[in-house]
């Protein structure tokens, strides 16, 4: 990951670097991170401080956890967290399993038409939920799973599978064919090759796809908003926006606390697997 002009950097003077590099970068960072800072500060402010006209709004004088306490004990927030977790984990694993098989079939078994199938997967990846939610609402209603977590568990794979398959195809492609041929001569069946050779070698890809898929499901909003109406079935994004906003009085503290806690799981996961996440994101774009 060397910078493009490591060797020639001796030609750059420090003041020049400050103006052309450090200052713009600092501005970028401040702008990108300020909303998070603002979320944290707001969630810790007592109501009185939130609505006070004087004082410095950038700082909190008497931090309180009242908003978090309210969220955890007086609302269905824990329930929404549990729902989101359940839906995300199940749909992620479901999608990963289906994608591993599909990607292996398309990329490695090379059956007739596998190239066309590869293109279809890419096209499926480009179909946005925004044009599917109305017919999907009708379908989930007909299937009798409307307003259940099931509706989300079966619909999330529609955008997860194309993504994961596309990503895993790229990973599988990078594994030399000779390994499979050698295993074939060694007496392995196709299934054994997949389980004992390909999957262990594609672990980074599996993690990337898994992390990314989990984040996508955790962040999903439109389907959850459309298919779920009972409070006890809602996910965090939908619950926060539909239930914590009561009339015209906005409980900013609680809203910010809810936003913060809802972001935390993905942020933590992201912190542990940054490289995999970035590889997943750029891999999907590059391949």
């Amino acid at each position: 990951m060397s910078a493009t002009d490591d060797g020639m950097s001796y030609l750059q003077s420090l003041p020049r670097r400050v103006v052309t590099l450090y200052v713009p970068l600092a501005v970028f960072l401040i702008v990108l991170l300020f909303p998070f800072y603002w979320m944290v500060i707001t969630s810790l402010k007592p109501d009185a401080e939130l609505l006070a006209a004087d004082g410095n709004p950038f700082w909190v004088v008497a931090p309180t956890l009242a908003h978090f306490r309210k969220l955890l004990f007086d609302t269905a927030y824990p329930r929404w967290m549990w729902n989101t977790l359940q839906v995300s984990v199940i749909s992620t694993f479901l999608s990963l399993a289906a994608s591993v098989l599909a990607a292996y079939a398309i990329e490695r078994l090379r059956m007739r038409g596998s190239r066309t199938l590869g293109i279809c997967v890419f096209l499926a990846y480009l179909v946005p939920p925004s044009i599917l939610f109305i017919p999907l609402a009708a379908i989930t209603f007909q299937l009798g799973i409307f307003d259940t977590r099931f509706a989300l568990i079966v619909t999330y794979p529609t955008f997860l599978i194309p993504f994961c398959t596309w990503l895993l195809m790229g990973y599988f492609r990078s594994i030399p064919f000779e390994l499979e041929e050698c295993a074939l001569i060694d007496g392995a069946s196709r299934w054994q090759i997949l389980v004992k050779i390909i999957l262990p070698l594609a672990v980074p890809g599996l993690i990337s796809a898994g992390i990314f898929a989990f984040t996508l499901s955790w962040n999903e909003f439109l389907y959850a908003l459309t298919f779920i109406s009972a409070s006890e079935n809602k996910t965090v994004p939908v619950g926060v926006i539909t239930e914590l906003v009561e009339g015209d009085v906005y409980h900013w503290g609680a809203l910010m606390a809810g936003a913060l806690m809802g972001s935390l799981p993905v942020a933590v996961l992201y912190a542990f697997f940054v490289e995999h996440y970035v590889a997943g994101m750029t891999g999907a774009v590059k391949e």
Partner: protein, 310 residues
Amino acid sequence: MAESGSAAQGHRGRLLDNREFLGALFLLPAAILLLGLLAYPLGLGVWLGFTDAKVGSSGQWIGLENFEFLVGDSVFLLSAWNTFIYTFTASVIKFALGLWLALLLNERLPFKAALRAVVLLPFIVPTVLSAIAFWWLYDAQFSVLSWTLVRLGLIDHYIDFLGNPLLARCSVIVANVWRGVPFIAISLLAGLQTIAPSLYEAAAIDGATALQKFRHVTLPLLSPIIAVVMTFSVLFTFTDFQLIWVLTHGGPLNATHLMTTLSYQRGISGGALGEGAAISTAMIPFLLLAVLFSYFGLQRRRWQQGGADR
């Protein structure tokens, strides 16, 4: 799986070693899900667009009636116009800022990996939740942005960011840019890192200035990735829903209604499934355009890779 043993097992093994059969078997789970819940609803959505389906009634075929209505509907036309403005403006700004940020991050920097990780943060947190933060930042009475500007003496009364049509449009675009720049920057950074440093060294020896290096080395080698990244970005922006729904619900005076939010409002909130589906269907041609663009971007990349030194 099928190992040595009985003849029946041997036969099963033979079948499972047949790539056509095995391929079909492996594709089955994904195919069922995607055909049933992606391809079918896509078709159903188009069909619904030609019916007067309502929530609770399956609807009758009414031909082009929905579309004829929409063409004369000023709110729909406004939402289409808004969608274009929103997509175009946000994409251009995102691209410019994203490319700039990518170039900055590609420099020799301390804590580079950590910086990159932090930069991507806006992209990974749930959009709806970060949109709430923007909602609060844009609050008419308590906006910290207004507070700062007043203190600096630049304005004398608080700005109603989401109350005025023009300001509301700008505000939602800013929020969208905030969320989209990291994605573009990190993707382009990945592209920048694949460019061999020796090319810059060769260009330097050939007498290229920094600007010329960018113009003649960076940009051409990055262009295939730019094409793909921007297609995704345009697609995401064009079909954005969450940000608008949280910040403005399409208001004020429908000034920020996008086709997606309008189709939700008419189709789900209003119960007119047919009309909502017609609005969604109207988006498909534009999406196809984006897909084709992306496809040729990929093709070109493959062609470039043929002679590329990687």
